[in-house]
Amino acid sequence: MIKHFLNLEWKQYFRSQYWQRGIALKILMGFFALYFTVMFLAMGFGIFYILKKQFPDSDPFVTVTGFLFYWMLGDLVMRFFLQKLPVMTVKPLLTLPIKRSQVVNYVLGKSATSFFNILPLFAIIPFGAVLLNEGYKTNTVLVWVITLLLIVLIINFLNFIIESLSSKTSISFLPIVGIAGTLFALNHFNIVSFSSIISSGIMGIIENPMMIGVPILILIILYMYNYYILKSKLYIDSSVQDKIKEANTSELAWTRKFGDIAPFMQLDLKLLWRNKRAKSTLPMLAIGLLYGLFFYPQPMYQDKEFLYAFIGIFSTGIFLINFGQFIPAWDSSYYKMLMSQNFEYKQYLKSKFTLMSLSVVILFVLGIPYVYFGWKILIAHFAAAIYNIGVNTHVMMYGGTFNRKKINLDEKAAFNFQGTGAVQWIIGIPLMIIPMGIFALVNWLVNFELAIAILTGMGLIGIVLHQKLMTTITNRYLKVKYKMIEAFSQEN
């Protein structure tokens, strides 16, 4: 049976759109994997000696064990965002003579071979070897390594439980971030010291190897719970059922002020509000807006004026970037319908333009408190906002004509690369690098004032040429219409 499953998956993988997706993304992922493997190996071999050098008084083995809590917490959060339960297309299997339990066990078993479980081995095993080399007792090391392997698997299965429980909440990553944050804080402020609980637990197991039954038991319970959740999901009605949410309708009457683009603006706003994928651009707004706080309070960035333009572009343009890069792919699932309707393409694009420009203005206004860190910052943000409105909006819309990837609006958003192609990377150049480069160069060669003037000037030119640019962009959209319709009707 497993042979069949593996065969199916092999085909699913190599015949999927994924495989045909941009080579660049795959190379990037491969590079990341390699990078992490090397990092972990280096850590596994090196950490013992580094700790020994830094803290000659304490036993590195004990120190590492003491830090395990942070690793577990970090691993759990990271997995939440990056690791998905391996999915099988189960629907066609349900009516075939295959036991449900077989399918479930296979899916769960397969998850144990995930890269996230392999990666820690690259650190744990070398560290174990180093310990042996340094004269620790074989028993101790062996039990320690086994315990850690169990913990890796426990985290693996715990993650799926958390994912399945929090997938029902509308912003699904809030619970995990909240819980992890609370645990971290409790530990950090020594209210409950999880670090020492965990390290003394592991030390206890080492002293009394029979205690290894405890993590094994936990693992079994988690596995059973996963099994139970998954099995109950193996009925197609359960996945259909909780999808239906009551629609909340709103008039959005204020959009009327924008005249003939009102219907499209309403559509875009509803798109943002009612679809998982699109909705995820909204929490990003907060991150973008507060982005400056990572830099400005720190003295080391205080005199780095060239950063102002970058942060300005990013924090006033976060919505523009997130929303704009997928124009018109947001509308891909009903693009055919739009194309057979009676409207001018210009209106459609103008709605997107208005929405993006509005967001820039609003984000700039919300960012005015940055003036606290210096008036220069505010001025740089203003120039960046003008540049965003004048240049970046048009760049985004023009870049959209190269979009050939459908977006499935219902899918979860975090680290979802669907719809991403080379376009999104290339577009980043005029979007971020050019303004930042020009600003930094002029700032360095001449002065801050001229750099601001040039950035603002470029933005203003864009605004003046708006109508002309729109016509060019619209023509380009009309020209690639058939290609887009064809690309958007391909299922991924």
Binding site: A247, A262, P263, K270, M337, S340, Q341, D410, I485, S489
Partner: protein, 231 residues
């Protein structure tokens, strides 16, 4: 109303549609039948300028569809679910389409009211998004939306498929009334020979992209079609 001249559509080397000359006069109701892959949807897609013809041209009302967009003013269509905007409620969808076709909310409310029977209380006021409706109900919403704004040309691809028997009968009734209006040209494709011969006054049979029969509907048409497809 609709003139098709020397149209062909090729994908690579395979020709999927060749229609030398097909004239559809104003007010006619035309049924397009043919097995899977006969070219029905391709023809509709060409008519709606969703794909580009390899050669030839289609004009409706004297407007060549792939050079001007003015035909959109008077053409309503529903090809498949990709014509629906999943995250809108049916009402919002009707208002949206209505707005593009110059109808205000009150117009749409009045318009939609006539279809209460077809909707069977499952579509309006249910506070459900279109993506959460059943396939059949989605189809109903799409078909009704195609009729918004008094179109002169209505194009429906497989309107009867996926509908329950009651709705099929009601839809048939509705379409019959629609084709009696001699200002509206209706194009329907269907696999249901019975329904399509009942609704349409002219039947065109496509096979592998070629028109092989062009019949004026009469008592004998259904028999003839059944005999043809039984082979």
């Amino acid at each position: 109303m609709i003139h098709t001249t020397e149209i062909t559509k090729k994908y690579g080397k395979t020709t999927v549609l060749t229609i030398d000359n097909l004239e559809i006069p104003k007010g006619q109701s035309l049924g397009l039948v043919g097995n899977n892959g006969a070219g029905k949807t391709t023809f509709f897609n060409l008519l709606l300028d969703l794909i580009k013809p390899t050669t030839g041209k289609i004009t409706t009302n004297g407007i060549q569809v792939n050079t001007s967009e003015d035909w959109k003013n008077f053409t309503g269509s529903f090809i498949d679910e990709s014509f629906l905007i999943g995250y809108l409620t049916p009402e919002e969808y009707f208002y949206f389409v209505g707005e593009l076709r110059g109808q205000n909310k009150a117009d749409i409310d009045a318009f939609v009211k006539q279809f209460e029977e077809i909707f069977n209380d499952e579509i309006l006021g249910k506070k459900k998004y279109l993506r959460d409706l059943s396939k059949g109900n989605q189809k109903k919403a799409g078909i009704i939306a195609a009729l918004i704004g008094n179109p002169e040309v209505v194009i429906l691809d497989e309107p009867f498929a996926n509908l329950d028997p009651t709705t099929q009968i009601r839809l048939k009734q509705m379409l019959k009334e629609l084709v009696e209006n001699k200002d509206i040209t209706v194009l329907i494709s269907s696999h249901d020979l019975g329904h399509v011969t009942e609704v349409c006054e002219r039947i065109v049979v496509l096979e592998k992209g070629i028109v092989i029969k062009d019949l004026k509907t009469s008592e004998a048409t259904l028999k003839e079609l059944e005999a043809h497809f039984a082979l």
